[in-house]
Symmetry: C6
Subunit: 268 residues, 6 copies
């Protein structure tokens, strides 16, 4: 059971690598059926890896708006796979390296993966791995082709691999041919009102009276901004000395919450 | 006989190089008349190589949609030629090399070929050999001209060569002059319903009742996606522990198959 | 009280770093409610930093027309935070360094910040940090991605960070993805007539008769140009030997002031 | 007599350099009046070289569609000139050299030419010498200017030079100023039906019944494709073991010939 | 008095640096009220520098058509300031230096200026300092940002600086942000008929009868071309052996003058 | 007298440098009033150089269609000046040098010129000195600015300089600012019928009957092509063994001449 699994996440996978946990700093709450379906489908691919014959790796791309929860989902799948080798490649982990050093780092991650019978490599926010900037546009063609090659290259006999990518710019990934280098792509959605409500209930920061008004205002807001707004609003309530924001007895002031939401989502 | 030849592929050419076999990880099934015709025409060129007088190499380009089976076809021809030297040049084999090292690698392959009385050089997915990316566009002009030169240069007296190219971007190859550097170009097609059915029969994954519905849904789907969908669907049937997917007694659930097909071919 | 705080700025924070003070060479006068509101909101973020759990830094961008007072505001918040580590990164402090040396400098600033329990890093005039020039456009992609990474990377356990950015070109920052790397953006406005009047009163350079005419002419003028014009006009009054311009007994000649204003704001 | 000369080509100039012969691997057949006229005009220039006073070299460009026979014509003129120094500069001979090494090679060829009383330098497929690719476009500006300089520079007293260029992209050569650096340009045409027939008669591959049908289909086909199609068709006749294709007793099957022609000229 | 000052220029400032004098090879004549007003305004800035508090330098840009006299004006102000440090940075003084050496040279000039209590740095023809060429456009982004930084950076306590820029391409300077890095910009005009007449009277090259016709023809002509035309015309009068052109007894032939003017101002 | 001077050119200036003579390999014939007027005007500038006071060099640009005789004219002026230092800078003399070596060469030429009391520097075909190619466009910005600097920089006290430029692309020179760096520009025209006739009379290659027909056909043809056509036509007359083409007793065949003219001027 998916929800069951979610509630047990922290204790159950204490052995999972540090950087997977850091990739989902708020843990993992239930965001509704749409995200759960994606979780299940990718978990099927995790199973498929185990039985695959020799050939290219199993590959899957998670795309969706910025802050919609793609990295958290990929990290959770990595943790839940219980595979001996799960590695996340992110721009932050390669910060400051030169282009060809980044290629070498990526190569190293895949070669390490090839040493394990079952592995997952998460390519997080692929546009950022390529140092992509829309103006120009600029990006590393060398890293692009390194990724294309590893998405296509067969691991050695006996080693099986799942490559999980995330992106908030699937249009760019199409243009450089990386979208089609993944066998399948799933779209991680923004929260709808009812899903936002579900999340708010789990976070337990509103009184029952306010929760509907809050959820209504959160329609199509990325879950990332939801966390930001809650933490900003908590200050304005004058409670900045109490460290724990979530599950507190005293609830958030809905006006402060709506003000912060407006500031954070303003189109400047 | 072509079909006859196909069924014997594995035993007959066990001596063929490893990377040719890896280039067609699913072996080679009969995809219908259209592909067979191309196979035959290229095999005539194989024969022609043997009698050619001194002059530029015999050259042929296989173009077609991504995943339509061009690489598998080229590898099969390489194997079936029984030539003493058959070499495949692919982006994966040159991964991580710098531009001029790639030129050196290509030069080495041709110079080795020149040492054999009859040789085949397969230039696989030429746009990728050039590190081509549509944005910009970016590609290696140096590698482009290296290929142009080897397509035109006469091997030494007594050595005869067939150069077989593959591409899924013939428009780009035209633009850089590589399309016309090949004497002849053949278009490898997507599977039509009746061809897809033929393939499904050979793979033996559907009950007789479902095979027509499956084939209907597969019209104009690349054979690559057909394999992907079968392997994904096999998981959803809850049979992930049984390693061999093809020719199994228990057949695929058609609904799972159609779901997976939809996911894999979705236009995201 | 905000205004109370303002008048005490100089004595109260004598310990603040030299370069913060140099970033607001005219001290900090009250510019009216609109700027004060921004000051308060950012001060809430300063408080929030103290209670934040592990995760990415708290981030905030101040945008607005050139000369509107963004740097002075950011410096004032840095001073008022009384945080043990407050560092301003500006183009001038990195003058003459090569691109990758600039990245190294920025990295050093963040790594130093990570050593302090509470820190503020001010990224001043981000477009200039990137050596941005509209023609081309030209800018450093390497520095862009260095900033993106530090805006997203979690400081080590126990260290908490506020990143404050300023820009007068939020359109460019959007285009390179830096605008959205900040959780919230506030717009620092130009002076309106009534705000200009308030500032002129504090600077005490006009007789009561002239102050309204001066303020009227200053509608939507950046505070930077206000200071420029006052200092130019003071010369034309033939008082160039008296060093102190502000709070002088003898007031400015309104005609000279209006002439200078016209010269300075002329659209050449 | 031109035709007389043609038939004697092989025996008469056995002493000519190897690479000139390799540049016309099929020898040199009579392609009709239009090509002959160009041959004669360029032979006048060959004569002119001998009497020229000191000054820039005599220069002539042969342009025309790809495969129309420009290189074969230039090589034939080089052979027929009986000049002590005749050198062909082609992309293949400079394969793998860096840009400035190519300039050095070209410089060397001209300096060697300057040592001979009468010389011919053939600049073959000039766009390829410049590593030209239409996309971008990309080409070597350094090589462009090296050629411009040698086309204009006077050889030393007593040394006389003819520079013969070939190109299938006169539009590009105009754009880089190389077209006008040649004193005169002649257009080498595609074969018309009657010219194709003349060639077929000399090659003696068709029965008298078929030759008109074949010639009709060959209207405006480059002579290069004519050779390609003949050699492909010869295989399909099932005669692949007989090495010599031309002047054979058994004639070509016209249907195979037309099929091959269609494949080779298909617009893919 | 401005005019008074002008007539005394040469004797009074014999101590001024050589390169300032070379920047106005014709000395400095009175060009009328419009230029005089600019001279006076900039001299106010010179005075302002002396009383300025710590902060960014006083900055002023002189823009106007090529040859209108901007450099001569800036050099004259530099001389008249009697400041201990007056330095002109021009493209000619940095000829042949590489980009970063040019930045180093500029840095050195400012650092030297910082050692003097009062200094003027003249940035002459800023577009040329940046190696600007309209095609492309091309220019040095590194030098651009070096200048931006020095226009904004505060000199050390006790050192005061005026930066005077000149440009004949204020549009370009706007585009790279340098126009707005100067506090105020003044437009140096072309000569109007009455101003041209004033200059001609001072140069004393025409008889009284011709001076009006000459002045009429000179409307909107840069003063630079006026000098060029006079010197050309003097040759055609057949007086080429008399070295001194100005203030001669024998006057210019008005027809020769008008011919030369037409040649020099022709729009070819 | 200009014509008088022309006929004496060869004997009178035998001492002139070799490369000036090579720049006008056909000597210098009278091309009519229009060219003569330019010659005279530039000779006035030559005189002007001698009396110039300290300041920038005298500068003059000769522009006009390719082959119209600009280089020959500039070389003739250089020879006729009898200046102790006359140097021609051409693309050919800098062939193969790298960009900055070319700048060094140009710098050396000017520095040598500065050592002579009177000098002429001819910048021949300036677009070629800059390695200009229309596609891109490409050209050396470094050489552009080197030239701009030397056109503006004052030679040392006592040394006087005339800079003579030639170009067949004044549009490009405008775009890079070089056109306006010259004080005056003269347009060297193509031959009109009557001027062509004058030239033909001097060359003495036609019978009196044919000369008008020939001249008619030569309207607006560059003098360069006139020489080319004469020399080509002389071959076709079957007189290739007689070395001297001009002033021969036997005249040209007008039909051969017109044929060659058509071939040479054809728009391919
Ligand atoms: N299901 C979830 N449960 C708890 N927290 C979540 C969940 N999904 C996302 N978050 C949190 O929301 C924030 C944004 O999520 P995440 O970084 O995964 O989004 P993203 O789609 O990867 O964004 P980006 O496109 O910017 O990379 C993170 O703090 C993350 O931990
Ligand atoms: N005739 C065939 N028999 C068996 N398997 C095939 C056949 N053709 C293709 N395949 C398999 O289908 C997949 C895709 O084929 P292949 O890689 O040759 O396609 P492609 O056209 O080269 O694709 P791309 O354009 O992406 O390079 C491979 O796994 C290949 O082994
Ligand atoms: N509130 C204030 N009190 C006193 N002086 C101020 C205030 N705001 C701005 N100034 C002064 O006005 C000038 C311009 O302000 P500042 O440099 O902060 O503007 P900015 O918005 O950062 O400009 P830019 O966009 O050019 O960086 C400075 O001299 C600054 O000290
Ligand atoms: N007159 C001829 N007689 C015999 N063979 C010829 C003749 N002309 C061309 N060929 C042959 O036809 C083929 C193409 O000719 P060639 O290479 O000279 O064409 P091209 O115009 O130079 O082509 P490209 O533009 O591709 O360089 C060659 O094999 C050449 O030997
Ligand atoms: N007021 C003046 N008195 C005497 N000579 C002057 C005066 N103004 C300009 N000149 C002379 O006119 C010529 C052009 O002036 P200057 O070089 O200052 O113009 P500029 O505007 O700087 O031109 P550019 O835009 O090309 O740099 C110079 O020879 C200069 O000495
Ligand atoms: N007046 C002349 N008398 C004799 N020969 C001349 C004369 N003018 C030009 N020529 C000859 O005509 C040819 C072309 O002249 P030249 O090279 O000077 O032309 P150009 O205008 O410099 O051409 P380009 O634009 O290509 O540099 C040369 O051989 C030159 O010697
Ligand atoms: Mg993410
Ligand atoms: Mg393939
Ligand atoms: Mg600022
Ligand atoms: Mg050729
Ligand atoms: Mg100037
Ligand atoms: Mg010339």
């Amino acid at each position: 059971d998916f929800l069951q699994g979610l509630s047990e996440v922290k204790p159950a996978f204490g052995a999972s690598p540090k950087d997977l946990e850091l990739s989902r700093p708020k843990g993992f709450v239930d965001c509704g059926d749409r995200e759960r379906l994606i979780y299940e489908r990718v978990m099927y691919l995790v199973e498929q890896v185990k039985v695959n014959e020799r050939g290219p790796p199993v590959t899957c791309l998670l795309e969706g708006p910025s802050g919609s929860g793609k990295t958290a989902l990929a990290a959770t799948i990595g943790i839940d796979s219980e595979f001996p080798y799960v590695k996340i490649v992110s721009a932050v982990t390669m910060n400051g390296l030169h282009e060809s050093k980044k290629c070498a780092h990526i190569t190293k991650v895949f070669e390490d993966a090839y040493k394990s019978p079952h592995s997952i490599v998460i390519l997080d926010k692929i546009e950022r791995l390529l140092d992509y900037t829309e103006i120009g546009p600029r990006f590393s063609n060398e890293i692009t082709h390194t990724l294309l090659n590893f998405l296509e290259q067969s691991p050695p006999e006996g080693n099986k691999l799942l490559v999980l990518g995330t992106t908030s710019n699937v249009t760019f990934l199409k243009a450089v041919g990386l979208r089609n280098a993944f066998s399948v792509t799933y779209s991680v959605p923004l929260l709808r009102t009812e899903e936002a409500k579900k999340v708010l209930e789990q976070l337990n920061v509103f009184s029952e009276d306010d929760i509907d008004e809050a959820a209504q205002a959160l329609n199509d807001v990325p879950i990332k901004q939801l966390y930001t707004v809650i933490e900003m609003a908590a200050q304005r309530d004058g409670r900045s000395k109490e460290a724990i924001v979530y599950n507190r007895e005293e609830k958030l002031n809905i006006t402060h919450f709506l003000n912060c939401l407006e500031e954070v989502t303003a189109d400047i």
